[in-house]
Symmetry: C2
Subunit: 346 residues, 2 copies
Amino acid sequence: MAAVRLQDVAIRAGVSQATASRVLNGSSRVPGEGVADRVRAAAAELGYVANAQAQALARSSTGLIGLIVHDIADPYFSSIAQGVQAAARRAGKLVLLASTQRDFDIERESVSTFISHRADAIILAGSRQSGDLDRDLEKECARYLDNGGTVVVIGQPLSFGAAVEPENYAASAQLAHALLGQGHRDFAVIGGPGNIRTAVDRRNGFVEALATHGVTPLVEIAGDFSRDGGFSAARRLSAALDLHPGQVDNVPPCVFAVTDVMAIGAIAAWRQLGLAVPDDVCIAGFDDIPTLRDHVPGLSTVALSLVDIGERAVRLALDDSATESRAHEFVPGRVILRDSSVLRRV
Amino acid sequence: MAAVRLQDVAIRAGVSQATASRVLNGSSRVPGEGVADRVRAAAAELGYVANAQAQALARSSTGLIGLIVHDIADPYFSSIAQGVQAAARRAGKLVLLASTQRDFDIERESVSTFISHRADAIILAGSRQSGDLDRDLEKECARYLDNGGTVVVIGQPLSFGAAVEPENYAASAQLAHALLGQGHRDFAVIGGPGNIRTAVDRRNGFVEALATHGVTPLVEIAGDFSRDGGFSAARRLSAALDLHPGQVDNVPPCVFAVTDVMAIGAIAAWRQLGLAVPDDVCIAGFDDIPTLRDHVPGLSTVALSLVDIGERAVRLALDDSATESRAHEFVPGRVILRDSSVLRRV
DNA sequence: CTGAAAGCGCTTACAG
DNA sequence: CTGAAAGCGCTTACAG
């Protein structure tokens, strides 16, 4: 049983297909009211639903926005996805979702598929390995842009397309100042992979702000950009700093983990070692992911409006001029101090 | 600058469009090797990417799977989404995502849009209000099914389409037994809205299992199916039970919250009131959402393999016979006891 | 304001 | 094995 076509409603309404198309989907002035009503009535009676595929082919615009994230189950990305989804819906667009699980081949494949489906725009969320995409991907994107596609990156900008980027460097510096303000003097850093710029910027912003005050981190350890990365980095770090439970005589060192997810992993590792936060060791993260809300101890962090970031990305994606001019929006972070970095008087 | 079309590569390869189509996309036997090679070479040189929209129109199959969730930022749904996404990718399908934020109008609109885009299948995740969809939505789905579409529900089955449903009743009963086994005798329930069957089944499974042992909950309170719903229900509950910090002389009552998200909200409320878990009040949830991993205190719960549920839904969606026979798969839950329900000796 | 007709980029019987 | 041609369901100049 085939679906109702525009032709069917046209016949039923006694008008041409062109007219039916105009009253149902066309934007310009509506035809004579009588005609329009008849067409609408016919469409309703038949239960007509326009075939978006056919429309896309005829209009050469699909109304599809492709979103590629590292891991949709990660609260950081699912919050961004919510923003993208909401903004897309308001703009009458649909979102195609791809979750790469940090697999580069899957990412490349996803971009191809989105292009093949002629997504009007592609949003790439999550920092990439090196400064740019690999050769193949880049060529494919170039062709896509030539054909009128638009690319928006969340995070580190590429050599093409628009970008919305958190102010990682500046916000991390603010965090450092806030922690110094709390009385901290001993610091350590749990950084991310050296080729991920987000990780590097956060580390640099923090460390260089400390340097301003003549402070240098006691240790720096790098881990994966994940909860488990934070977990194992924290173990190594506590060994390096020779941390022990209940050393109330010393002021505990303050660790900066470049993402909340890593910080949470670190706290879990320490708990397992019997180390209490903030009594034996203090910590701060970055992102203010929603799950922090009910995490104990409360984690000091830098709040990023993740949903807002997703919405901005859509706005850029829909704005051709923004894409052509390679617009680059920065979104600020806001320092939030919670229990995890509180220095208790001894 | 228009994209490369099949016609272009056909001309370049010196063959007909039909032949080019067959070597590039057709499934059956590949034409003479020489020809095939030339076509592939031409496609590569030109950077040909098939237009999926046109293919969809010609084949009347889009390769699109629509996923509708209540809230993509909720870890329950984002885990399911991950499963859906992974299974879809393996099957060469693309997923369209809609997050309704629990707004029924948006849900209806999303279904329409997916149908309009001729998604091959639609997966509806999350319990619905009443037993079924509303009139409009149902009629639209009926037409969709007639036209070859397939619908899969995660949770309570509808009057049509396939379903994958957690064994809510049985698993909640097991949880009750496990808690009785831990020595609990005083119980309370934080339930969900009375018209959401998932909530009702879990409540019933739990309460009826208790009844088997001659135990009746002291109180039952209903809340929204959300973190804040659990939060406010917990406040009312602690008033009803007259809970106070440090009543070490009594065995604390054990509360069953029908979702982990609600349980987490409840714990937050109690913490604010100075009530400690599990010393002043015990609690167990349901779902084993991933964020539980680093939640303190560890929450006793029923583990559902959320990713697996998403994957199963895709499998059903892709299997026409399953849809036609209104397949109904059950997925078991596994009781996990953690700190939140531990009864300490006084 | 309305309609006939071409075109969007593919696939697929149907012949050869 | 290969090609000419019709068809998928719309939109949109172009005439009237």
